[in-house]
Structure formats: C-alpha cells, structure tokens
C-alpha cells in the first residue's frame, strides 16, 4: 500500500500522465468530432501513423515544429476527406472504409518513409518540442513539476478539449453537428446541410488525429519508427464511448487511461514476480469495466454509422 501511495504522490507520475495522455486526447477528440456528426472513423490508427511520419519528415527537412504539426494536420485532412468521400458521399460502410484508410495510411507512410529517408543505423532525429515552464506556476511545489512543465502541444491538447466542448455545446455550429449525428434528415429539414457538416467534422477530426500522431514524433520522441503508434488509435475509439461523446469527459478519460499506463510502468519497477503482461493489461481491463458502468448513461448519437443519402428513403 505504501508503495502505491508513494507512486501516486510523486510529481513524476502526474507529469507522465499528461505526456502519455496528449496523443490520446487529440485522437479521442478527433474521433469524437467525427462520431458526433454520425461518422465512425476507424481510420484513426493509420491517420495517426501518417501524421507521426509526415510531421516528423517536415521538421527533418527543415520546417519548424509548429509547421510540422500543421503538416500532420493537413495530411490528416486529406485522409479525412478520403474517408468522408467514401462514407458520406458514397455511403459505404463506415467500418470498412475506416479500416481501409488505416491499412492504406499506415502502409503508405512506411513506404514513403523508406523511400525518402535512407536507412542508416538508427533513424535520424530532430529537436523535439521542449518543456515550457510556465512562469510562476512551474515553480510551485509538486503541482509545478507535475502539471506545468509540459511541452506546448500538451497544453494545446487541453485547450483543444475545452474549445471543442464549447463548440459542441454552446455554438450554432455545434448544435448543427449534434443534430447531424442524431438525425441528418432533421438537420436537412432545418436548412443545415448534413453532407457538409459530416465532411467538415470528419476532415477536422482527422486533422486532430494527425496532430495526435505527430505528437509522438515531435514531442514524445524525436524520430519516426514504423508501427510506433502501437494501437493508440484504437484506444481513442474506446475512449470516445467511455466519454459518452463529451469532449470534457474525453479529456478525463484520456487522463485516466494515461494514469493506468504511467502507474503500471512505475509499479513494475517496484513490484516483482508478476508477469509484466498483467500490468500492460490493466488499462484495457479497467477501460472495459468503466464502460460497463458508464454505458447505460451514455447516449449514442442516433445516426452513428448510418449513411445519409439525400433524396433516398
């Protein structure tokens, strides 16, 4: 018990939570935006991979870090556009289109990476985002090192979550997005074009996914490796449900998941004799338990995964 308390009381744990959570926050917000408009985007895993690759590549070729993030967002948009074309315009199955995008985006990013970056020992590096100490706050005991010495994209992720919450619940655009996800026919009957809303949500959502991927290569690490996204995208899909499609809760969910992960990494170093796989499993198991508790209250967007073709009934 004492060990566990020590771990929880260490500022390092909390700083790690924010770091680990950042790509998840971006990814979850992206997936959430898509789903709020009624489109499941299983392309996330591939889009994050491509974002990680292309963002890094841009910086490697001389762009600055923010441009790198922007390039990743743009790439996400391109894949979002592809997914939207297939699911919104053509009304193809959202599962399959998403898995197809993942398959394509990830293999394509490996292929491009291999063509562009010559293989030499370990992959080349860039100078990633550095932690920003927020004056005044970062020197506070415990709280300072725990929460106020992160890199800029981490703060951006949190701001994005709050901003998205505001947009979804407090603006006409957000209402239009929600209506499209609940009943696109009703949206259309009110003069809101569900096709455009869905395109917009999927494209912007995918941009966020791209940024989430780029965080891995531009802040969490400094070079790109194939397969380095390691299922983080799928976690985001689960987190959206966990969050009952609310951005604020998505932020919380991502932090909770990151807590389990950061915690198990620390527990491993002090608790011996338990297979390490058990530690790695905990975040997933706890997510499922949390889902079981939350599910009854969660309100799924009613038109999620339903294609909308104008003039068809």
């Amino acid at each position: 018990m004492n060990i566990i308390f020590d771990i929880i009381a260490s500022a390092g744990l909390w700083a790690a939570i924010l770091r680990i959570a950042t790509p998840l926050i971006f990814g979850t917000l992206g997936a959430l935006l898509c789903e709020r408009a009624g489109v499941l985007n299983l392309g996330i895993e591939g889009i994050m991979t491509f974002g990680a690759m292309i963002g890094w590549l841009a910086v490697y070729h001389g762009a600055d870090l923010w441009t790198g993030l922007f390039v990743a967002a743009l790439a996400g948009m391109v894949f979002g556009f592809l997914h939207a074309t297939m699911t919104v315009s053509l009304g193809l199955s959202q599962h399959v289109s998403g898995l197809g995008v993942t398959l394509f985006a990830s293999s394509f990013s490996y292929y491009l990476f291999r063509l562009i970056v010559p293989v030499a020992g370990t992959p080349p590096t860039i100078v990633p985002f550095q932690p920003i100490s927020i004056p005044g706050l970062s020197t506070l005991p415990f709280v300072g090192p725990a929460f106020f010495t992160q890199t800029a994209p981490t703060y951006l992720a949190i701001v994005t979550a709050l901003l998205l919450a505001y947009i979804v619940f407090r603006t006409p655009l957000g209402l239009a997005i929600r209506m499209t996800g609940e009943n696109p026919h009703a949206a259309e009957a009110q003069g809101v074009d569900p096709v455009r809303i869905r395109y917009g949500a999927v494209i912007i959502g995918s941009a966020l996914m791209g940024v989430g991927g780029a965080f891995l290569t531009l802040s969490a690490f400094n070079s790109f490796f194939p397969t380095m996204v390691q299922g983080r995208g799928w976690i985001c899909i689960a987190l959206v449900v966990f969050a009952s499609w609310r951005p604020g809760r998505a932020l919380f969910g991502a932090l909770l998941f990151a807590f389990f992960d950061a915690f198990q990494l620390r527990l491993q170093t002090v608790v011996q004799g338990i297979p390490y796989q058990i530690f790695l499993m905990t975040p997933y198991i706890l997510s499922i338990l949390a889902l079981a508790v939350m599910a009854r209250r969660a309100r799924v967007p009613q038109a999620l995964m339903q294609s909308y073709r104008r003039g068809e009934r």
């Binding site: 407090r170 603006t171 006409p172 655009l173 957000g174 209402l175 239009a176 929600r178 209506m179 609940e182 009943n183 026919h185 009703a186 949206a187 259309e188 009957a189 009110q190 003069g191 809101v192 074009d193 309100r299 967007p301 009613q302 104008r310 003039g311």
Partner: protein
Amino acid sequence: MNTVLDISRVSKRFGDNLANDDISLSLKEGEIIALLGENGAGKTTLMSILFGHYVPDSGRIIIHGRELPPGKPREAIRAGVGMVHQHFSLAPNLTVLENIMTGTQKLWALRSKTNAARERLLAIADRFGLKVDPDARLGDLSVGEQQRVELLKALFNDARILILDEPTAVLTNIEAERLFSTLKEMARQGLSLIFISHKLDEVMAAADRIVVLRGGKMVAERLQFETSKAELAELMVGHRVSRPVREPSTPGALVLKGVGITAKVAGVDRLKSINFQLSEGEVLGIIGVSGNGQAPLAALLSGLLSRTAGDLMLFGKNVGNLDVGEVVAADIGRIPEDRNNEGVIGEMAIWENVVLERLSAFSRGGMVDRKAGMTFAREIIDAFDVRGGAPRSRTRLLSGGNMQKLILGRNLQQRPRILVAAQPARGLDEGAVAAVHARILEARRQGTAVLLISEDLDEVIALADRIQAIVGGRLSPPVDAGDIDARRLGLMMAGDWSETPTEATHAP
C-alpha cells in the same frame, strides 16, 4: 388575395416510377389547400420538391414571384416555407429548444443565443396556443407534443407557407381538432397552408380548396363548397368506394377473457387491473387517446409482454404468460400498430415476411421450406390483392396500404380464431381503409373473434360490436355499439364512464 406560391409543371421520376407527372398548383395568401391521394400518389414527393429535399426532373417552384433554386432546403426556409414531415424529423436525444434552434442562427456565430431563442419560442407558442416545455428531452414527449414541436419549428423560422404531410395520421381526434383550429388561426393571421390527409372529414372541415393526385398526376381541383366526401373518395381512387357496413351477428363461444390483468413496462404499471372478454364472431373495440396503454395491451396479447397480475383465459383454459410462438400456435392473428418497424422487415422478401412468424409450420428439420413459403405468399398476394410485389421482391418496395394488406393476409389466410388488430387502418388511403375494414368484417363473419385497438372513433363505431375505452391503463366497462354516440364515446375516452350502461362487470 395574392398568390404566394406557384408550382409549375413539376415532374419527378424514381427509376421507372413517375412519381410526379407535370403538376402545377398555386396557393394564395391565407388559403388552406388539402392535398389528397392514394398511398403512393406522389403527395410527399411533390411537397419534398417544394421544400428542396428532392430535385425535380423538370418544372419550377416560384415563391412571391421569385424562382426557388432546386434542391436547397435552406433556400426554401429562407423564402418562408416550413414543412412538417410525414415521418417526424426530430432528434430524440436533443431538447425541444435545440431541435427548434438548429440551423436558425449563423453557423459560424461564436455563441448560440439560447435565451433569446427560448423567449421567442415561448412567445410563438403562446401566440398559437402550442404549449411545450422548451427544455424537455424530445424523446420523452408524446407523439402529439412532438407534432407541436414540428409546427413550432416551422413557425420559429417565420414560415409564411406551411406544408403539413399527414399531420393527423398519428393524432387522436381530439388532438387533430385542436391542431386544425390552430391551423385555421394561422391562416387567419395570413399564413398559407397545404396539408396532406387521407381523412375526408378533416379535409372537408378545414380546407378551402382540395387538390387530388392520382398516379403522380393531378386529377382534380375543387373548392370545398362545391364537392363532397363521396366525390373526393371517387376522385382519389378512380372509382366509387364505400366503406363496408357491419351486419348484425350473434357472437359464439367465449374465446378470450382477461380478469384483473396488470402489466408493467420499464417498471411502471401501464395496464392496471383490466377486464375484458371476447367471443367468436364479434369485434370488441378498444378506443382511447394515444399513449393510454394501447401498446402494452396489444403487446400482451401478441406475446411480447408478460403480465404481473391477473388471469388470462384462452378458449376457456387459464393460461400463463404466452410467448410469440405460443400465441401464433394458438391461432391468434396479430396486426401490429407500427407496420414498418414491427409488421414487416422491409429488407426481407415478401415470402420471408409471411413465414417468419410461423417458421415451425414452414420448416422441416431446421430447413425452411421455401417452396411452401413461396406458395403461401402467392396465395396471400392473390387473395388479398397485394399489388406491387412478387413473393421474391423486397417488402420495402410495397406501399403502405399494400403492406398492410400483406400483414392482414398472413394473419387471415389461415382463419385465425382470434385477431388482435392495432390501428389497422392508420395512414392508409380511403380505398385501402375500405379494403382493410372489409377483411376484418369478413373474418368476423367467419367466426373470428376480433380485438380492435384504435384511436379512430369512426373506425371503432363502424366495426365494433362492443366498445371499451382505455384511459391511463384502465379499461372502462364495455358498452354496446348500438347504444353509443360520438359524444358519449368522447366522454369515455376522457375517463368519464359513469354514464355507461352497466351491462357488464365494472372495472374495480
């Protein structure tokens, strides 16, 4: 009065189906037009074109002298067109206010003006006498309230031209009357209205002018005072129709009896100690305002809901809770209220839909007997005049009336001993209603005991031998159809059954 709307030579084709064929129509300020036609005549299509849901193949829509760009609901709304859809276009998970506000403000505004919108909504609601709670979750509202929200939506957008697609199909007579008085008030305040209906009474009562479509063509246009129900019915269908009349009959043996039945839905008592009995060759009508327990009663007798108390006697034997299989096996036919979601599975073939509920009879050793199923489907199609489909074609393609005939057919073809029919004629055109009623009376003549659950006074009076009202989950004592008039029935539906003659046991 000046013309506010001109529909000019509109045509629209779906595949091989010419849904609208060169239709022209104009609407004046303050005028109410009723659009009439059989199921599938093209009414909804025409209105959808007007509102921009569909793009016409040819033709133009002119509002206040300006041509409306095709296929843009937004432009239609801006031009002052409001539409209340046949199938509600609402989001159950959002609040009333959110449903109404969607799309009414600049999409890129930094903040929703929620308070202003709420005030405006309340003001409009007040002006037209349409009370709602703006912050209620829409899914929690009754159908009638949802209808009101649909109207408010249009009014909120400053609609000057209001289109209502079968607004009363799911309303009770009382709700419908209230709606029409609101509509007339609107017309008085200068709005122009087009409404679609199959109910000739309300058409005659509310419309200034009546337009009839048949097979996509406009076949007639009459002023209200120069026509009659009979003429309209004939114009619609193309030949004379008259609803069948119930002949006197003597009921046979008692087949179904419920004593003190109580049932819960989602933890709440929806049926409260009800009593009823039903004999061979008679029709028992259950009348009531929507949402008073009709659905649980139908579900209970269809094998979908268990009772928590009370006895059910089937053919003189006390039975426990029945499941669907047992109900079907006991020769009880069932016509569900919601034909699109319960009655049929649209994506399945017609033959599959007719055998699905009696697969045990149409299978051997786990194998479906397709041949027998196909033959059965063909029999029904022939015997019940189901038009527009072969046994193998998808059921979704049938029109509402034909779908209903199919459901009737699969239940009646094998002469059930009991028929539980919930809202059997809802949403059907005059010809189809007559056909359905004839079938039910035919079954009665052959000795079937019919339990008719309906919100339509005319229907119940026309078909039922005895009538019970359902109010708040309770059943009134039965009254003889011969002794009753619309006024008394109205009172009973409001829960006042003190005047009813006490020829049967009182509900406790």
